[in-house]
């Protein structure tokens, strides 16, 4: 029974180009002063914590380096000289060093995470608030998943840098310098011999880092194809079985699966070559100490304690080097992430309130489009010279083919977008002169494919009026003919709604959204009729509910049902951005123009039970 005077469900305004996932390769700069200074502004309030954390870092690095030296003293001065008291003292000193080391690093870590998480929370809240304020045009052209990743991943990597990265950098550099200085002081010759291994380690680390990045990207990519292939096949299992194509699909999956396995093994192999290599280089340093140190001790040029201390310091070389190389990647990611977050934060709402904007007074309901021209992208006008006046309480049906501009007209009345030419007036007031929320608060919008939020049915009906009483919610449901099916549910109004309303039929979703609009009691109603038809009984319920909702309100309906169209006070036929015909059903039929042609073709070919 759906009378569809030409449209499809894709009438979604700007459509077309979505801002994609962008380049996820973080090959950007390591340091971007602008990004860093903007980001540091978030940390500023926590200066005291950051400074304390830094001081604690210095202390723990120093204490970490002290322990091997204490052992050296124990061997050289006390054990060799049989100084029992001194040995007790050293043991005590070591104990103190350890306690200090772990206490200071624990406090430092906690301080950093505390600061980091607070900054993170603030940034995220700010981003989310900003997202709510951004105009619909932004959301229409950005993929939700990508926006979410701004809020999570990008903010996350910035935090990694701000709270952990910078301190790690300090700690690693200090540790490296400390080791070098102490070793040089203990024995310059042996120290220099040992250091010959360091460049090898650095080179090995760098080579690995470069290859690993490629290899791990490959594992991520192949894993994504396993997941993608699988998701697709699960979704299309009916088609696969219907066409008896299990074999072909299986082969394809196995190919992807094997590629993933091989990529994993390859990536792992790299680290298995790398880890032992670096370990080996570390032990090479040990061998150097043993060989030259051993000879030096034999010739009494060196004490035994020095060798033991050297052996201990040598093992500490590698970790800072590896961390520093990781830090390089972290910095790159943080700069790229920071840039993306800033870009989002700096996106100004495309439909801003004027500073002189006033609250919209109580609406009577007269809507006027005066010489309206509009384009989503400047070069492609969507609407031209649209003139339309709707008196209070009138219903106007917009009909016309897909892409004609019906949705755009409704978007302009709700001021989701601003006109490029002319003006939209409500009760004679230009909608650009009032605060948009005060305008929309008095408007009701029922989109074609209404979205239900997770929560209970009552929450969803209450969406526009969070303070409404239970009684008011029930009344709205009654008005919307939704009470009957709601009361049949075992949890009634407290029934939980699954992701996007998946547990309700299209018809039920529409009834709920009508209830939502009824409760909000708007003066002006914008209705995008659903194109997918529901069974006859539900159809009647929806029709009846809409009639009640429309009564006494100004309504603009993007109409697909014959009943709605015939019911309207005015019908506007939109084609290619213009109003080509305007009048009541009877008038337009009599005129014998576009409308009549559409009507006859539709009515004859596509009315259904």
């Amino acid at each position: 029974m759906s009378f569809s005077i030409g449209t499809t469900s894709v009438g979604r305004g700007p459509g077309g180009i979505l801002h994609g996932l962008g380049d996820d390769e973080d090959k950007g700069r390591v340091w971007d002063a602008h990004v860093v200074s903007r980001m540091l502004a978030y940390v500023k309030p926590y200066r005291a914590s950051m400074v304390t954390a830094f001081v604690l870092t210095v202390i723990s690095a120093a204490l970490g380096l002290a322990v091997p030296y204490l052992i050296k003293i124990a061997i050289d001065q006390h054990i060799v000289n049989r100084d029992l008291v001194g040995l007790d003292l050293i043991a005590l000193a070591t104990l103190v060093a350890f306690v200090g080391l772990y206490a200071s690093s624990a406090i430092q870590q906690y301080l950093l995470s505390l600061t980091g998480q607070r900054v993170l929370g603030e940034m995220r809240s700010q981003l989310v608030g900003h997202l709510q304020d951004l105009h619909l045009g932004y959301h229409d052209t950005h993929i939700i998943g990508v926006t979410i990743s701004r809020v999570f991943s990008d903010v996350g990597v910035i935090n990694d840098l701000l709270s952990q990265g910078l301190i790690t950098l300090a700690s690693d550099v200090l540790t490296l310098i400390g080791i070098v200085v102490i070793m040089l002081l203990m024995d310059p010759r042996l120290a220099l011999l040992t250091f010959t291994v360091v460049p090898l380690m650095v080179v090995a680390t760098m080579i690995f880092a470069r290859h690993a990045k490629v290899a791990f990207r490959e594992t991520r990519a192949t894993n994504a194809s396993v997941v993608g292939d699988l998701a697709e096949d699960l979704a299309g299992m009916r088609v696969i079985q219907a066409f008896a194509q299990e074999g072909t699909e299986q082969e394809h999956f196995e190919e992807v699966n094997r590629a993933n396995r091989d990529a994993n093994v390859r990536a792992m192999t790299l680290s298995f070559i790398f880890m032992p290599t670096v370990q080996f280089l570390g032990t090479l340093a040990t061998a150097v100490v043993l060989f030259f140190g051993g000879r030096a001790v034999a010739s009494e040029a060196l004490t035994l304690g020095v060798i033991v201390a050297f052996l201990s310091y040598v093992t500490r070389f590698f970790q800072p080097i590896r961390e520093l190389s990781q830090l390089y990647t972290t910095m790159q990611q943080a700069m790229a992430g920071g840039e993306r977050v800033l870009e989002l934060l700096d996106t100004r709402p495309g439909v801003p309130d004027r500073s002189s904007a006033v609250e919209m007074p109580a609406i009577r309901g007269r809507v006027e489009l005066r010489d309206v021209g509009f384009a989503y992208r400047s070069a492609e006008p969507v609407l031209r010279d649209v003139n339309l006046t709707i008196e209070p309480g009138e219903t106007v049906a917009l009909v016309g083919p897909t892409g004609a501009g019906k949705t755009s007209i409704s978007n302009l009345i709700a001021r989701f977008y601003d006109v490029t030419e002319g003006a939209v007036l409500v009760d004679g007031i230009d909608v650009r002169d009032v605060a948009q929320r005060s305008l929309r608060r008095q408007m009701g919008i029922v989109p074609q494919d209404p979205y239900l939020f997770s929560g209970t049915i009552a929450d969803n009906i209450r969406f526009g009026e969070p303070e409404a009483s239970d009684e008011a919610v029930r009344e709205a449901a009654r008005m919307a003919n939704a009470d009957e099916f709601i009361e049949r549910l075992s949890d009634g109004y407290e029934t939980q709604i699954q992701e996007g309303g998946a547990n309700f039929s299209v018809g039920q979703r529409q009834l709920l959204c009508i209830a939502r609009a009824v409760l909000a009691d708007p003066r002006i109603l914008i209705l995008d009729e659903a194109t997918s038809s529901v069974d006859t009984m539900t159809e009647v319920l929806i029709q009846d509910a809409l009639d009640r909702l429309l009564a006494g309100r100004t309504a603009v309906v993007i109409a697909h049902r014959l009943s709605t169209i015939r019911n309207a006070d005015q019908i506007c036929v939109i084609d290619d951005g213009r109003i080509v015909e305007q009048g009541t059903h009877e008038e337009l039929l009599a005129r014998g123009g576009v409308y009549r042609e559409l009507y006859e073709r539709q009515f004859v070919s596509a009315s259904a039970v």
Binding site: A91, Q132, I148, D233, A244, R261, M268, G393, S532
Partner: protein, 626 residues
């Protein structure tokens, strides 16, 4: 235990890498145990004859009785002729050899373990995939795709964790611990026992770590999931939020989620900041024990200095296993749980099974279909179809009519055996469909569904889906019949344009026509059509209608019908109500019967006169308001 057996079943194909793993692992443990000995041997040399001058021939090397001593002497017949420098050189060289050996063994161990691990993962995924394809659609009814995906991807990954990490780590660590303990005992039982003192503390701290810190991180993960879902919900409904001016309330609501997430993370981090240093600290207590007690023993000359140094060197590898094992145990449990979920999925019995003696239908069936007293239900005690008897002669068009949820789609799904009947039987050209091979049965049936599913790939791939070996001409012919050729031709790369979610987006009408082309090319004698309910623009509508009519020619067609025109032109209309057929006949026959069909028609007619009445009512209401 069952799970373990199941898991080890998957290692069978990877026996060789696993044997290499075990061998490399044991050798690695041995090598790790030897290294400190070389150093202590060296120290015993340089320390002993402090009076002896370097290079003097009077130096007499007395090698330790252990095999390091023996290894150091390889290639010399007369150890007494070695200078001290020679021995140091030899020992340093020996150390180097061992280090190289360790590097090679480490590589071998990890590599072989991962080849086995990822191999098992790939095998498991292949088996799951194969199994999923065998399961009937009934199985998919009550499974969330997300859950299946996670079993397939995340749970099977656990095989790798287990085979390549958890199990080898556990074995290596146990070996290491006892190996070190034995060696240390050889040096000094007393000192070894003293170094055991911090172990209960380490165990305690490590247990605390697994008991409190990990769950806290899991809780954080859950909060993150919640936050993610909330934000997704918010952004999906941004139009409604703006329409109802809920921006501030929403920002606040998500802000609260963000704070909750932050707090759960901070709690986890606070716990970690408490336990982690504690674990570290308990491990370092050993160093203090050594300095204090070990130093005393050396002073009392009950322990040689080189042995004390060896103690220092062994200490690191002594405590490491204790710390690791507590984490490894959790990993194993975790992995076992994953393996169990995989096993559960693999043990799911497919309920549409081919008979052993199933026959293959000859090339092309005539297409006569009979339902003989068919009953069906998805869930016990909730019959969807009861006692359905229906004979469709070859080439006839049958329209299924009835309220939503009445089982029209179910009835159609029984023909290609997506589900099996509970009672009664369905025959195709007189063969019970359960006696046919699934493949030959499904080759006789084409299905064009309302929501068209296209695979990621080119338009060509999608049309050829059912008959990959069709020629170019056949494909184009099919596209022409389906009225799809024209728009396909205008696509940037014609038939080779990648379509679907990640490619060029097609409109609903275009997808429909592509699906029709797919069915045309398949050329099956039986056609199941779920008439599209969502409307497309008039021209498209007519194109689709035309294509469908061409497709229906000469085929037995079952249409789940919504359009009056379709229903009127059907050879027979079947009205379903509740779970039974209540009316059968042509439009003319049914319209004169007192039944649902007439009611449906009447509702349609009744809506007409209401227009005028409603418009009047609304106008009068408006006047009151204005």
């Amino acid at each position: 235990m069952k799970t373990l057996r199941f898991l080890f079943g998957y290692t069978r194909n990877h026996r060789f890498p696993l044997i290499v793993t075990v061998l490399a692992m044991s050798s690695l443990t041995a090598v790790s145990l030897v290294e400190p000995k070389i150093i202590s041997e060296m120290i015993s040399i340089v320390k002993a004859p402090f009076s002896t001058s370097v290079g003097a021939t009077s130096f007499a090397y007395v090698p330790s009785s252990n095999f390091i001593g023996r290894l150091a002497l390889i290639g010399t017949t007369d150890p007494s002729r070695l200078t001290m420098l020679d021995v140091i050189g030899r020992l340093a060289f020996l150390a180097l050899v061992f280090y190289i050996l360790r590097a090679v063994l480490t590589f071998l161990r990890s590599y072989a373990a991962h080849v086995a691990g990822w191999g098992a993962v790939a095998d498991a995924r292949r088996d799951i995939y194969r199994h999923l394809q065998r399961l009937s659609l009934r199985f998919y009814e009550d499974q969330k795709t997300g859950d299946l995906m996670s079993r397939m991807v995340n749970d099977s990954d656990m095989f790798e964790t287990l085979i390549a990490h958890a199990i080898p780590d556990t074995i290596v660590n146990v070996l290491l611990f006892f190996g070190v303990a034995a060696i240390l005992m050889g040096y000094s039982t007393r000192l070894m026992l003293l170094t055991l003192v911090p172990i209960p503390m380490i165990v305690f701290a490590a247990r605390g770590f697994t008991k409190y810190v990990r769950p806290a991180f899991r809780a954080r993960q859950k909060e993150l999931g919640d936050l993610n879902a909330t934000l997704n919900d918010n952004l999906s409904g941004i139009r409604e939020i703006k329409a109802f001016t809920r921006e501030d309330i929403e920002a606040e609501r998500i802000g609260a989620h963000i704070s909750r997430y932050r707090d759960s993370l901070l709690r986890a981090l606070r716990l970690m900041a408490t336990f982690h240093p504690f674990v570290e600290f308990s491990s370092s207590l050993g160093t203090i024990v050594l300095i204090y007690f070990g130093g005393q023993l050396v002073l009392q000359e009950t322990l040689p200095l080189e042995d004390l140094v060896a103690f220092f060197l062994y200490l690191n590898i002594f405590y490491q296993p204790v710390r690791m094992l507590s984490g490894a145990w959790e990993n194993i449990q975790h992995a076992m749980a994953g393996a169990e979920r995989v096993a559960e999925l693999l043990h799911e019995e497919p309920d549409v099974v081919e008979r052993h003696d199933a026959v293959t239908l000859p090339e092309r069936a005539d297409g006569a279909i009979s339902f003989n007293g068919v009953s069906f239900r998805y869930v016990e005690h909730q019959p969807v179809l009861e006692d359905i008897t229906l004979h469709i002669p070859a080439g006839h068009v049958v329209a299924l009519v009835g309220p939503t949820g009445v089982g029209k789609s179910t009835l159609a799904s029984l023909i290609p055996r997506f589900y099996d009947v509970i009672d009664g039987s369905i025959t195709l050209d007189g063969h019970d469909i359960r006696d046919l091979t699934l493949r030959s049965l499904r080759q006789q049936v084409s299905i064009v569904l309302q929501d068209v599913f296209l695979f990621h790939g080119t338009a060509r791939d999608n049309i050829l889906f059912g008959r990959p070996d069709a020629t170019e001409e056949e494909m184009i012919q099919a596209a022409k019949i389906a009225n799809a050729h024209e728009f396909l031709d205008t696509l940037p790369e014609g038939y080779d344009t990648v379509i679907g979610e990640r490619g060029v987006k097609l409109s609903g009408g275009q997808k429909q026509r592509l699906a029709i082309a797919r069915a045309v090319l398949k050329d099956a004698p039986v056609l199941i059509l779920d008439e599209a309910t969502s409307s497309v623009d008039t021209q498209t509508e007519m194109l689709i209608q035309e294509a469908l009519e061409r497709l229906m020619v000469g085929r037995t067609t079952i249409i789940i019908a919504h359009r009056l025109s379709t229903i009127r032109s059907a050879d027979a209309i079947v009205v379903l109500e509740g779970s039974r057929i209540t009316q059968t006949g042509t439009h003319e026959e049914l319209i004169v019967q007192d039944g649902l069909y007439r009611q449906l028609n009447e509702v349609q007619n009744e809506i007409e006169p209401r227009y005028v009445m409603l418009r009047e009512r609304r106008r009068s209401a408006a006047q009151v308001v204005v």
